[in-house]
Amino acid sequence: MAKVDLTIEICGMSGDGTIAAGGILNEAMSRAGLSVLAFDSYPAEIRGFGRCVTHSRFGDQEMQALSEKTHVLISLDDKESQSRTPFLAKNAVVLFDNKPPSYVEEGTSIAAHVEPDVRLFGMPFTDLAAAASGSTRGRNLAALGGFAVIFGVPPAHFREVIAKKFKAKGEKVLDANLKSFDAGYRYASEAFKERERPVLLLPEPGKDEERILISGNEAVARAALDAGLKLYFGYPITPATPIMEYLAKALPAKGGRMVQMEDEIASIGAVLGSFFAGKRAMTATSGPGFALMTELITHGVMSETPAVIINAQRGGPATGMPSKTEQSDLQAAVFGGPGDSARIVIAPTNVRECYEFTLMSFQLAERYQTPVIVLTDFFLNNRVEKVKIVGASEAQREDWNLYPDESSRGQYERYRVTESGISPRAIPGTEGFLFDATGLEHTEKGRPDYSSEIHSKMTEKRHRKIRGALNDLPEPVEFSSGEAMDVGVIAWGSTFGSALEAVLRTQQEGMKVGALKMMSLFPYHAEAIRAFMKKCKEILIPELNYEGQLANLVGHLHGKDVVRLNRTTGMPMSPTLIYERIKTLI
């Protein structure tokens, strides 16, 4: 049973410093020793316009998913905050500005829109900030001061974060901001003295300094840098753009370069060219960009050239919903493009795995001489978690290319059929091992050849090679209640977190339910999946796509039809939805 499990939203209009306040809150609560899972929502296309809502979940234990109910709402703009009141949990705390500049008509205040069980805490953020710093800008920080009092969070955590964040903006700004926070804290300490306050039971300090708050995007970028990436080729597309921008800043310092190409086709082309010439490169995109890349991806498969592609899925099809989450590119990632073009597809389920899998993808691409696709989604890319990232070990950075050995000098066959299917790959610049890579079907020497014999042989070789990657790919992980279960839930990507939360809940209630975390989508570990399915009467596969793309991929391994749970709401799947569905199957 978690001692702390608090979901906090800050809602305001753009210009209210909502997002900044959310960031400070995340950092401060993280310093207080809590785990963090934060996922902001902004308006779709245009920043700087309209409603901003930050959404963070804090706990003393790891969290897998967002909670459906909000326990604390900090309203920086009552009109916008009204949209958030339907999500308030019972006895939620609402912190609002109780001294608007003038009297307001009934219904304008957030106080008119909350249920009677909601605990309202009013304080004059605007006045406090103005009095303390001469400007109302710091009202968001005054509000955080009030929050700290209500929940008993040591103000030092907030002050340290504010100091760090605004140091670069100069003494005056930093001072004003600290003053605003302090004013809010002082006021609340006095005003809420007598009130019953839900003070948090914070963990012992100093237990996890190694963990940092980062987003999925940042985790991907960092992993690439830690893998020794020197070249990134990309094109702006929501939600992958931050990866490109992070690397644009970080690569030059490492002697590398980020090149913004003219389109996604050019991006993948350059990545393949780079790996062909022996250097790790990467590109990140989303559905529409990925679609453009498919021809060249299959070229990578046919010419056996490595590549690393991050596909950060969003609402589809076509331009779809750029700022909403979905899991509808699985089919495209595994099968997209002409021909039998099996390649490696892996999908992280949380921010830590975004780091690990990106790191791993370079080695997989090199060893199996194929494009590797890392499938993330908007939710993963944009959410912030407190993660332990200590950099890559020697082993994780190791070069996994298989170079030809001396014995084949002068008689080198680039596509020699081997037992593993992996043919040693010479790198241009190496004397004695010249070859031509091609997207046409070819002989072992690499000469174009369309004969039935060659195509059969080489197709089989390429597929055998990819299947061999199962040895290096993360196996599915089971979370089972026992050897015989009523329901087994198989999920991938960020939906797994929601599924796990639902399954753990059912297990706590004594139900015989298990979960299987699938991370390698292709090739997939059929044996392990089948073994899990055998233990379960029913298999439930929840995913954020309409057809049930994972169900289509692995459902056949089960003795009978799997149960599908499909949602295309653009929002992460709710654990409660999965929980309720599990119950109907028992």
Partner: protein, 266 residues
């Protein structure tokens, strides 16, 4: 004068030992006899020999078309990619290992049609790739359709009433995209190609070689060898390759003057 068989055999042996043709791969080109690509092949091979470029440090990147097969016929590293994407792939290769000499080769369909969107950007970035555009104003591999550089009125199976679209001027495009080295050449003059290539290979930056050539199998009326030989002529003697405006005017007004139209000073 007939040479005796023995003398001939010795001469062949000497040539073989001299490694002059070692740049050629064992595979025989699959182009039609009389194809202009042979001339380009000779021109490029000679440039490589003349400069003594080590073969293992050369990468030839090609697209799709008759020119796509090019890498197979040279004894270097080769990368035969998909249609129209030679330039971005070359960019990746060169940035990954700047010590390689990277040649990008492709036809007018590959470079001006599907690949047209990539030319401006490799030029703007001035990536040190040597791009040879084999311009025969036709899609030959797919058996004769009009290309982006085909003239108005050009009749093919795909344009039975005659092509209606105005042709693109590849040299003019390259210049307006900011390419730092632009040469216009003729497949019927391999030595001219070699000379320009030697300069271009030495140039540090994107080098564009627009090569007119003939498709003897599918174009019997426009870019025939006869026509091309009549049309081409050298650049005026007073042409100043350091003058961009002059180069652009030249490209606009005279489509068949050959030589190095533009070379940006470092």
């Amino acid at each position: 004068m007939k040479t005796s068989g023995k003398v001939l055999a010795e001469q062949v042996k000497k040539i073989g030992e001299s490694k002059v043709f070692s740049i050629r791969s064992p595979s025989l080109p699959t182009w039609c006899p009389g194809c202009g690509y042979f001339g380009i092949h000779q021109g490029l091979n000679n440039a490589i020999q003349r400069l003594g470029l080590p073969h293992h440090k050369i990468v030839v990147v090609s697209g799709i078309g008759c020119a796509g097969r090019y890498p197979f016929f040279t004894d270097t590293y080769g990368l035969h990619t998909v249609h129209g994407r030679t330039l971005p792939v070359s960019t990746g290769v060169k940035l990954a290992n700047p010590e390689l000499t990277v040649f990008a080769v492709g036809g007018d369909g590959d470079g001006l049609g599907i690949g047209g969107g990539h030319l401006p950007h490799i030029a703007r970035r001035n990536i040190d790739v040597k791009y040879l555009l084999f311009d025969n104003s036709i899609y030959g591999l797919t058996k004769g359709q009009p290309s982006p550089s085909s003239p108005v009125g050009f009749k093919t199976k795909a344009s039975p009433q005659g092509n209606k679209d105005a042709p693109l001027n590849a040299t003019l495009l390259a210049l307006s995209y900011g390419a730092s080295f632009v040469a216009r050449l003729f497949a019927g003059d391999p030595e001219g190609i070699t000379r320009a290539l030697v300069q271009g290979i030495g140039h540090k930056g994107f080098s564009f070689f627009h090569v007119y050539t003939s498709c003897v199998t599918f174009d019997k009326e426009y870019k025939t060898w006869d026509h091309l030989k009549q049309w081409v002529h050298p650049l005026p003697a007073k042409h100043d390759p350091a003058n961009l405006k002059q180069a652009i005017d030249e490209a606009l007004e005279d489509q068949f003057s050959l030589g190095i139209l533009y070379k940006r000073m470092e």
